[in-house]
């Protein structure tokens, strides 16, 4: 039975790829992922904003209160050097490359165009096999219209592509007026893969303190429907590979994603809750299902339920409610 798949030029032994999460902070965890059968790993994201903040913080607090008072010209011992986040991240990538054989995919969230390019290059030099651009952006500025925003995405991709040789994936949010259009734009700009979709942590309110609080909610199974639909729609229309992320928890989810046309199924919440060992269970589940249903390879099922290949292509384009009414009519 052949579970292999091709994801942005990387030959993967199966479609299971743990997505960027705190689990990949630790080399041992990534080793466990490899042992459990993960085909590749996306490492947690390097945030340019965090790098800037960290520098600013160090500079501020090491200088704070200094040169003000004769007895305490400063408050901390001089250090020769600081191993700042980019260095730590890049070292981590290099260490992972040494520790495992599966492809390591770096992940980057930039702010400035210079930052995107610089850190993308660094990640490549550190040995990453591919790079995922994690564009985590809430379009709250009323003075920026959708075209400008989309252009930014395309420009970032182009700049990065110009400067690195490893494959580059774009991880997107679903909040585009025209997902097909942006997907096409990125595809044409050279995206090696599109990863659908980024989940934003939605803030919550603390009613007692009257404060907005961050609230981390792990994905649930139904969230998989959104990437499922869009992969199904996009499959066959792009050169880019398609990765699915959000709400993938079971072997059935993976199979569905493959049938929609995905090249890899990424997961994080499932592993955070139920452990890295779930990877091997899911792979076994896929194998069992394929055996029972007589599929010889992932390739056989890939895109089989995509919009291009199903009986009722409109099903993906209509709102669910409409579809239900229609089916009712058909029965009549």
């Amino acid at each position: 039975m052949d579970l292999s798949t091709n994801y942005m030029g990387l030959k993967l032994k199966n479609p299971i790829v743990p997505s960027a999460s705190p689990l990949s902070n630790n080399v041992d965890n990534v080793k466990k992922m490899e042992d459990a059968g993960a085909a590749a790993v996306v490492v947690y994201s390097l945030f340019e904003e965090q790098i800037t903040h960290e520098s600013g913080e160090l500079d501020h607090y090491l200088a704070y209160g200094t040169e003000s008072y004769a007895e305490a010209i400063n408050y901390f011992p001089e250090q020769e050097s600081f191993n700042l986040t980019p260095v730590q991240y890049l070292d981590h990538i290099a260490n992972l490359k040494k520790a495992v054989d599966i492809p390591i995919i770096g992940s980057l969230n930039g702010v400035s165009s210079g930052g995107w390019v610089k850190y993308a290059r660094n990640i490549e030099q550190a040995g990453a096999d591919a790079l995922e651009l994690n564009i985590y952006y809430v379009a709250a500025n009323p003075n920026l219209n959708s075209l400008e925003i989309e252009k930014t995405y395309v420009d970032v991709l182009k700049e990065v592509k110009k400067n690195v040789k490893i494959p580059v994936a774009m991880k997107l949010s679903p909040f585009f007026t025209s997902m097909s259009s942006i997907a096409k734009g990125l595809d044409e700009a050279g995206a090696d893969a599109l990863v659908l979709f980024n989940r934003f942590y939605q803030p919550d309110f603390d009613l007692e303190k009257l404060e907005v609080v961050p609230n981390l909610v792990l994905s649930t199974n139904w969230e998989m429907r959104l990437p499922l639909r869009w992969i199904a729609i996009l499959y066959g229309n792009l050169k880019s590979s398609l990765g699915a992320t959000s709400g993938i928890h079971t072997h059935e989810d993976v199979i569905k994603i493959m049938m929609a046309g995905g090249d890899v199924a990424m997961m994080a919440s499932e592993l955070l809750v139920n452990g890295i060992g779930r990877i091997s269970e899911i792979i076994k589940g896929i194998e069992r299902w394929m055996e029972e249903n007589e599929y010889k390879s992932i390739d056989m099922m890939k895109g089989s339920m995509s919009q291009k290949k199903i009986a009722q292509p409109a099903a993906f384009e209509r709102a669910n409610y409409m579809k239900l009414l229609q089916s009712y009519k058909t029965i009549l």
Binding site: S55, Y61, S68, A70, Y75, P77, Q79, E80
Partner: protein
């Protein structure tokens, strides 16, 4: 050979040599010597090797006494060992110094000489400390400049090895230790050439080792001790020539020649000065001027080797033409015939004159004088005055110079207009704030000028004695000739004022020369600025024909993400205007130095600074100075007209920076000062201050509780009072049953005293329900509301204070109505210590005596010009004193013993005079419990009654009782200090006091580092925290002082953190005070040395408690009487991981960046330690005390 030229300060110069010729370094931090130890530690941590190729071991001890002991031990076992210290620290080393010298052990102690604490402490420089070691047998070598510090440090190390005489190598604290100047650096080859391994081997051969053991340190009897002491004479006799030989060797090596006594001036001088230290540099400069410009026959002897004192070498240096000699001492020995150098010179010359071959034909006149105590300025005009004094037939003897002594008329007059500064040296003055980075930028400029041009360069920096909103003045000199001016700039060609509001506080242009250049950082546009400059300053600009340049540095800083730091911007302006370097080159050099300074902190910081440089020049403008001063802005008075006379006449001069003009008669004879003086120094340092929105206030009182500066006050009062209130005065109905109807409630901010820390806003729990970003307290800009709120605060102060008997002291909303008797201190904005200190003053202030250990709390509590401890309307308040650092617990215990004795005596007299006074009153007084405010009040009433009876009684006992009657009202003794005191240097005393059972209350303000001296590790520092001497993270866990105290069983112990549980803090303070025995409160005090956002300090306290790192508890021995467990854990089991607390703080977080591996390991160990300790406490808290000991007895029976 070309040696590297570097710009460094005296401390670094000394450490550079000492480190390279040592194997062991044992130190303890003390200003101004701390940087020597810190540099050594930093070098050791980065594996810098000594000249033998090994990395010296640097160890911080618990006190200087400990350091000296460790040095002694290390020397005895054959390691080349050094230490660095000053002042009281050197005092603590004296016992070991006798031992080290007595055993003829080569060693050098490098001392940045500092005043000693007498009637007052001073951190500044003079020779009082080193003069106190004359008798120990140590040699004393003095350096007068930074170059000399490096050179003589090496010569001294070489000489000690050869002579076997240990040395103190000293230089003037601050003036030399902190002066940054260009010097030639000695390299390792120089050092190797000077240190003869033959002597090193001999030293090691004498070391204690079991392989060829000896015994050293015997006890001797009358028969031989004396002879033994005389054995060392030959070593002392030989020493001066050995030192001179080493100086000669050094001269061959480097070209710099030194003599034990160096003479400068006319070869046929008639009048000379003999002195040592940095003042001799100024004297040399003046002698040069007087001989060349005024053809005076004067000269100077610089003393370098003061002990062993060589008469022979002194005489050899003295021209035979000398008729009169003035010997200047930088120390004071009350009651002596004269100061030590004077006495030595008199003796030396007298011995010569009494010998067969007298040096002079006629005995010269020798007079002595004192100068420069506590870094008092010593300028060329003072040197001239000293020479002029010698012109008199009978020169004044035992004089002072530099002050006005209108009491015993010791001082010489000097001409303030005699200035010898010449234009071949460029002189620049910069006024800034500590927070804006001015000093750092100037240190950078000095480095650039010194190291990138042919110029000589010197920088000296004057800091404020306040820790918040502190101002700095930088004095920069540079030019083609060496700079010897060891005094502040008297006439500046360039003045930079980096903060506009300083124009109102200082006479910024007082020292600028005519035609000079003035650079002003202005928050206004180039067109508006002129009108915003105060009239007096405008007039100075016009009169002195100054060139005026203006930049809005704040806007440039904001635009480039620099925040409040205008350092790079103002530095760029300075280079652009001054033309010291071509503009492009200057900018390139600034950028190189930015890269060097900020590179390790990340590229973004470098980029921001580059951008600031680039944007600066576009925003720098020269202003055409109008012909007339048109500003309507007048300078505000220094203090209010309502201030007491002493504040108006004396303290105001110090506030205005004119403290040098204070006369001797204006100073107290015994260091005693009045209370309540900070309230007259309106500093207006906060840009934003809190504003009360009564609509949402829930009257919880937390804002007043946490305010570090008592700048937010609460009163409840009869509404009748507000009929005459200013229109903008705010109030609301008082909530709560304890207040009668018709009472009003006001929260008032002292906006001129507030430092803008925001702790009150952070702690305020009351949200504005219509706009949740707002609370019942919100920060607003200070200037628009300043005048109005000044009036409101004055009015507020006039409102009656609450009757203390009505207050429920255990409730914060109630006890915060109590008047704080600790207000407006100079502590850091957002200080985590002062809220606790203030709470003591509120709860017990009117009957409290405070013994305060040296440290932050003694500085913000007692540094002139104004002090925060205050009195109430009855004139009562905390009586406060600081003895030393190490003895505070004992000092407080002495107070307790004294009070108890006098109380007992009063009680004895009371019983004796029962018939006269009346048994009812006597019994009432003797049996009064005085448990609460009502009890205290009633006892005071009784004592008043008693006094009125006694006033009519003329018996001796009656008079005695009248004197002692006030002791019949309970007195509360508070022993306050930081963790450096309690955990380290003062622990022995603290332990003894805890064991004594005496009724004292010990408050440890635990910041977990030596905050006052700049963040050195103490035993209170947490595992994994970065501190000085723990650059790779403290490897061991925090000492559990509370557990040690609990072991006694009869000590009340509490660990508190106001930010986690304020009610618990209050409860602990009340219980501790009520407990009739020793009480120890350890209070978590967030601190800027933690590297945190200080406005979130309380949140950090909460995290510390939530993680279990800082468990809250009270251990009350009283509980055992009722069969209860004395330990009550008041916080819950750890609910967050330790890392979620500690990695919010730079002190821990930076380790993950500088030493990631160690950080990981230490975090694991620290987390385990937290859980282990928690478990232990938890188990202790559940022990069943109900049968307390009886069970055993029953079994035994």
């Amino acid at each position: 050979m070309t040696r590297v030229k570097i710009t460094i300060d005296g401390n670094e110069a000394a450490a550079h040599v000492a480190y390279r010729v040592s194997e062991v370094i044992a130190i303890y931090p003390i200003t101004p010597s701390s940087p020597m130890g810190e540099l050594s530690d930093a070098w050791s941590a980065t594996d810098v090797k000594n000249i033998w190729g090994t990395v010296p071991s640097v160890t911080e001890m618990q006190s200087e006494g400990g350091a000296a002991g460790a040095v002694h031990g290390a020397l005895q076992t054959g390691a080349l060992t050094t230490t660095f210290t000053a002042s009281q620290g050197l005092f603590l080393m004296i016992p070991n110094m006798y031992k080290i010298a007595g055993e003829l052990t080569p060693a050098v102690f490098h001392v940045s000489a500092r005043s000693i604490a007498a009637a007052a402490l001073s951190i500044f420089g003079d020779h009082s400390d080193v003069m106190s070691t004359r008798q120990t047998g140590f040699g004393l070598m003095c350096s007068g400049s930074v170059q000399e510090v490096m050179d003589l440090a090496l010569i001294t190390h070489a000489a000690t090895l050869e002579s076997r005489i240990p040395f103190v190598h000293f230089f003037d604290g601050f003036r030399t230790s902190h002066e940054v100047i260009k010097i030639e650096q000695l390299d390792d080859d120089d050092i190797r050439a000077m240190i003869d391994d033959k002597f090193v081997n001999e030293f090691k051969g004498r070391a204690l080792t079991p392989d060829h053991p000896v015994l050293r340190g015997t006890a001797q009897n009358p028969d031989v001790y004396f002879q033994g002491r005389e054995t060392v004479n030959k070593f002392y006799n030989a020493c001066p020539s050995i030192v001179q030989a080493q100086m000669d060797k050094f001269a061959k090596l480097t070209g710099r020649k030194y003599k034990l006594f160096d003479y400068f001036g006319a070869p046929d001088a008639k009048r000379i000065v003999i002195m040592m230290g940095s003042g001799a540099e100024t004297a040399e400069e003046t002698v040069e001027y007087l001989t060349a410009q005024m053809e005076e026959k004067v000269g100077l002897i610089k003393v370098r080797l003061y002990r062993p004192f060589s008469i022979e070498h002194l005489l050899a240096a003295l021209p035979k033409t000398v008729e009169k000699i003035s010997v200047l001492d930088r120390t004071k020995e009350p009651g002596s015939i004269g100061e030590p150098l004077y006495l030595d010179v008199v003796t030396a010359i007298t011995e010569s004159m009494n010998s067969k071959n007298p040096h002079f034909n006629k005995m010269p006149v020798v007079v002595g004088g004192r100068y420069g105590l506590s870094s008092k300025e010593f300028t060329p005009t003072m040197v001239k005055a000293v020479f002029d004094n010698l012109k008199a037939v009978e020169p004044k003897n035992h004089f002072t110079i530099g002050i006005v002594d209108d009491v015993t008329n010791t001082n010489l007059q000097f001409d303030p207009n005699f200035v010898i500064e010449r234009d071949d040296v460029v002189r620049c003055l910069f006024y800034g704030l500590g927070a804006d980075g001015t000093v750092g930028a100037n240190k950078n400029s000095i480095k650039i000028i010194g190291e990138e041009t042919e110029n000589f360069a010197q920088g000296y920096f004057v800091y404020d004695s306040k820790k918040s909103g502190s101002t700095t003045v930088s004095h920069l000199r540079f030019g083609k000739r060496p700079i010897r001016s060891t005094y502040l700039i008297q006439t500046a060609r360039f003045v930079g004022c980096h903060q506009f509001n300083l124009l109102e506080k200082f006479d910024v242009l007082g020292n600028i020369v005519d035609g000079g250049t003035f650079l002003l950082n202005s928050p206004y546009s180039k067109n508006e600025t002129w009108d915003k400059i105060p009239n007096k300053v405008q007039q100075q600009i016009i009169d002195k024909k100054l060139k005026l340049y203006v930049i809005d540095g704040y806007t440039v800083a904001n635009n480039t993400g620099m925040g409040g730091r205008v350092n790079t911007i103002m530095q760029t302006c300075f280079f652009a205007i001054s033309g010291i370097l071509p503009k492009e080159e200057a900018i390139e050099q600034i950028k190189i130095s930015i890269k060097k300074t900020y590179g390790i902190k990340g590229e973004d910081i470098v980029r921001k600074n580059y951008e600031a440089v680039d944007q600066t020049l576009e925003n720098l403008f020269e202003i055409n100075v109008p012909e007339k001063a048109t500003s309507t802005i007048e300078l505000p008075p220094i203090v209010s007209d309502k201030a007491p006379e002493y504040v108006k006449n004396v303290l105001s001069k110090i506030i205005a920076g004119e403290g040098d003009d204070v006369k001797v008669s204006e100073m107290p004879v015994d260091g005693t000062f009045p209370l309540s003086t900070t309230k007259w120094e309106k500093r207006n340092i906060a840009l934003d201050v809190p504003e009360w929105d009564s609509e949402w206030c829930i009257q919880c009182g937390k804002c007043a509780l946490v305010c570090p500066h008592a700048a937010i006050r609460i009163k409840v009062y009869d509404k009748e009072n507000i009929k005459s209130a200013p229109q903008s005065f705010k109030h609301m109905d008082a909530k709560g049953k304890e207040f009668p109807d018709g009472y009003a409630y006001t929260i008032q901010v002292a906006v001129e005293d507030c430092t803008g820390c925001e702790l009150c806003v952070e702690v305020c729990p009351a949200k504005n329900k219509k706009e949740t970003r707002l609370k019942a307290l919100n920060m607003v800009s200070q200037i628009p509301i300043r005048e109005q709120e000044k009036i409101n605060f004055d009015y507020f102060l006039e409102l009656p204070e609450i009757d203390r008997r009505l207050v429920n002291t255990s409730l914060i909303k109630s006890n915060q109505l109590l008047e704080p008797l600790f207000e407006f201190s100079g502590a850091c904005s957002g200080c985590g210590e002062t809220p606790y200190v203030k709470l003591v003053s509120q709860l017990f202030g009117d009957r409290t005596i405070v013994a305060n250990a040296t440290g932050c709390s003694s500085i913000y509590g007692g540094n002139l010009p104004t002090t925060p401890w205050a009195t109430n309307k009855d004139g009562r308040g905390p009586a406060w004193s600081n003895s030393l650092f190490e003895d505070n617990a004992e000092f407080g215990m002495g107070m307790r013993l004294s009070i108890d004795k006098q109380t007992q005596f009063a009680k004895e007299l009371l019983a004796k005079l029962k018939d006269i006074i009346g048994s009812e009153l006597v019994d009432a007084i003797l049996t009064a419990e005085q448990k609460d405010e009502a009890g205290i009040y009633e006892q005071r009433e009784r004592v008043t009654k008693l006094k009125s009876i006694l006033e009519k009684n003329n018996s001796i006992d009656g008079k005695k009782l009248l004197e002692a009657a006030d002791f019949l009202v309970k007195k509360s003794v508070w022993i306050i200090g930081g963790d450096g005191w309690a955990y380290d240097i003062g622990y022995g005393g603290l332990d003894h006091v805890l064991a004594s059972g005496k009724n004292v209350n010990i408050l440890v303000l635990d910041t977990e580092v030596y905050s006052n001296t700049g963040g050195q590790m103490s035993k209170a520092t947490g595992m994994g925290a970065v501190a000085k001497f723990a650059a790779a993270g403290k490897p061991t866990a925090k000492k559990d002082l509370s557990m040690m105290a609990m072991n006694y069983g009869n000590v009340y112990v509490a660990k508190v953190a106001m930010g986690s549980n304020d009610a618990h803090t209050v409860r602990a303070f009340l219980e501790a005070e009520a407990y009739d025995g020793p009480s120890l409160i350890i209070a978590y005090s967030h601190c800027i040395a933690h590297g945190i956002n200080i406005s979130k300090g309380l949140e950090h306290q909460k995290l510390a408690v939530d993680s279990g790192y800082w468990p809250l508890f009270r251990y009350n021995p009283e509980n055992t009487k009722e069969g209860k467990n004395p330990l009550k854990l008041d916080s819950k089991a750890p609910k967050i991981k330790l890392e979620d607390y500690i990695y919010r703080e730079t002190r821990y977080k930076m380790l993950t960046k500088s030493h990631p591996k160690e950080a990981k390991e230490l975090l694991t160990s620290a987390q385990e330690e937290v859980l282990k300790r928690w478990k232990l406490y938890e188990q202790m808290a559940i022990i069943d005390y109900s049968n307390n000991g009886n069970e055993k007895e029953e079994k035994a029976n």
